[in-house]
Amino acid sequence: MPDVQALNEFVNLLKKRKIEGSQATAKLTAELLRSVISHQRVPHTNQATYLINAVRAVGEQIIDANPIELSVGNIVRRVLHIIREEDLSLVTDAMAGFGMSATSDDEDDVERDDHPALSAVVVAAAARSTLRPPSLQTLLEDVTDSAAIPPTPSSTGDSDGKSRSVEKGTRGRKLKHDVIEAVNELIQDITSCHEQIAEQAVEHIHQNEVILTLGSSKTVFEFLCAAKEKKRSFKVVVAEGAPRYRGHLLAKELAARGLQSTVIADSACFAMISRVNMVIVGAHAVMANGGVIAPIGLHMVALAAHRHAVPFVVLAGSHKLCPLYPHNPHVLLNELRSPSELLDFGEFSDLMDSATSLGSLHVVNPAFDYVPPNLVSLFITDTGGHNPSYMYRLIADYYSADDLVVKQRPTAGN
């Protein structure tokens, strides 16, 4: 397969954490999946399942490569969802076609009339059940679903097999084409999410506001700049965001754009929050319950904002919406980075030698914090502002229930 090399390369980059930021990762993932789909030789029958399986196989690998980077999984799920959706729309189109052909064929052979109509209904029902968000019905039909789809073409195919297979072939190519088109749209969405979020800036930032942010986020930068371009003058307090100190960079860039920015140490967040009107931060991922996986330190800021009744606003592109629930987020969805960011190894190496020193020394340098939904006032996504409690619904629009567990499914099923 030609895309194996690209896949391995991408997996390597993910494993080595060479790709920074969920937007870049999401984009690369989508591009990789697009190439996977376009290189896939689709059989005549059952293309959707085939494509889904192919994407899943790749998806499993890249999710494993960096399980912390949730946007990879999000994009894999969304591509799966796209395939299902395109398949459904083709099926419904076909069903309409069947209906047409059934009426035209009406006079020729009446006895065959009920047969395709019945099968079309079955197909449509099956397709619908694969696509819809979780409901009791889907859960019950889920088992029969995969078994139900394959027989239908064969049952319909026996009578006019040849003409159907030709039609299927064009449909298969059309499905692939449609899916790639849709993935392109997704990539477009990911690229433009900053602008779409930034467009809403004027609605949220008024004159003379003092805004606090921690660390650096491209989304936040664009958001603030957009407000600045609309002639709003306001001040930004930037907490430096140890141990990466990206806040320094953000403050410098904001100052270069003419925004009055003040850099503070992270420890001064609580002291400053009483003079701040709004906290605007970026997120790493937004979970289905409205909780946020955010850069380290934001839980502290969120608590301080909560205490002082300062709105805590999270900006997140839709590729950051993750359909999973954080059950023990501090343990599961975190990553411990190198201690060298906190302690100079040379300086403390004598203490780390267990033979000479009596005590033990651990250095904890987690990368992410979990901010529970009750501390978040508002999410601003590219589709508008949302309450944390609404996130699950938004997520249901983007993902289909079958894909929630990409990882275990293929290993168990295949």
Binding site: H248, K252, A265, D266, S267, A268, A271, N365
Partner: protein
Amino acid sequence: MDATRVSHSLGDPKIRRVGFFVPESSTTDSCKILSPRHLSGTLPDMQTSVDGQVSSQSNDASENLNLETGIEKREEGEKKVLKSRSKPLKEKTTKAERRALQEAQRAAKAAASKDEGSKAVAETGGAATGRSTKQSSQKKVGPSFPLAADKKAGDRPLDKDRKKDAPPPRMQFDDESRMEKARRRAVVNPTESRTRVELFKHLPQYEHGTKLSNLESKFFHLGLVHPSVFEVGQRYSAGDIWGGNARCVAMLRALQDAIRDYCTDHEKALVRDLTSKINSYVSFFTECRPLSMSMGNAIRFVKSRIVNLSTNHSEFEAKRTLCSDIDQFINEKIILADKVIVRHAFTKIKDGDVLLTYGLSCVVEMILLYAHELGKHFRVVVVDSQPRLEGQVLLRRLVAKGLSCTYTHINAVSYIMHEVTRVLLGASAVLSNGTVYSRVGTSCVAMVAHAFRVPVLICCEAYKFNERVLLDSICSNELGDPDAIARVPGRMDVNYLDNWASEDNLRLLNLMYDATPSDYVTVIVTDYGMLPPSSVPVIVREYRREHLLM
């Protein structure tokens, strides 16, 4: 100038109390209601606790009284005349710490005036003590309106007493007129920072690094400043001495040296002269680095001891008592207090605990080491933050002593808080509304601990308790060197802010302290035992009384 007047004025306090509705009956309280003008010589409390506002307050008080009676108005006029006429009195009323800046610059002038004053004292035949100066000033009031003087003096203390409870207003650095005056007086003359943070205009914001060179070049011009005071001041501004206790002890030792080497001019009163000397030293310290609240308390103590000196001591004896008093303060209020705190806090440590501490607090360090020595098995989480990174010092010491430690930075505090069973924090001061004023970041740690339902123990010596109140960390704070924010030690890759000063819109803010609201504090461990934050005002009051009697 005659004997009757003297006796009258001496008896005054008791006479004056009659007929005024001051309910106090204890000796200390009766002392409190007396006017400092009349009794400053004998009353340490007045002298010390009114501190900064003596001069301004006496004016305020008299203004209030002006509304009441014409006699008092006349008296007020008399007083003004008196003020301008008698330099010693003026010397008295400007004892305040804030006003003490004045002394540094006007030393020569003041010295001349003091000569004049002490001559007047000498005339009365009294010894060169505060008591005699009090008499001399008393006499000047006495002759013209003895009755009015009495009445007024009785009225004023009431007002005073009430006002005394309010802490003296701090120097506000956005007050242009006062700043102008202060600048003229200043010894150090640091360059004002070009990039001042708007929100903190009321706090001093100077270019860091300019202070030190200025200081060094001025050593020989500063005839007033005792060498060891100068040294300590320099080390303050260089950041050599930090931590509340260390700074306080260093200051007290320097003052001790200065007292030891002090020698009264034969024409001056030891009490007044030494107090003014101390004031000038204190203002010098303040210019080097703003005093912490605990240091303010210690200075108050020293001044009260000076004012309280027995009149019949020789200079040598007086100096020796003072030095031993200071020693006693250091021993009892700092060293022994720490030991007591360690004992108290130890009872709260169990086997298997995970204790979290933030930054470097020497008391907390002592507690951890003590518990470890006594064989408790626990783990320590050291939380640290930019720009001081004091935690690394603590970490090094603890690991070397064999404790098992986890090190992390303040952003990760909510990550690590799951494991933690106790949070031990130090404090720079505990204010009477229960607010804990401590190194910046303490409030964040306490807040996260509160959110995770982990008890927060604040370890703080009682001499750091202050009657001031604070609601946030903005109104009263200290700003550190902004460059410290831009540099990250050991991280060469973080260089985004290398020439931040050239950016017009960029400000760096290095706050030194923050205020932790009392509801985040579970218990305050002091040398008086373990208290809830709501008991702080009680301790402040009791402590002040004890202070008086000592």
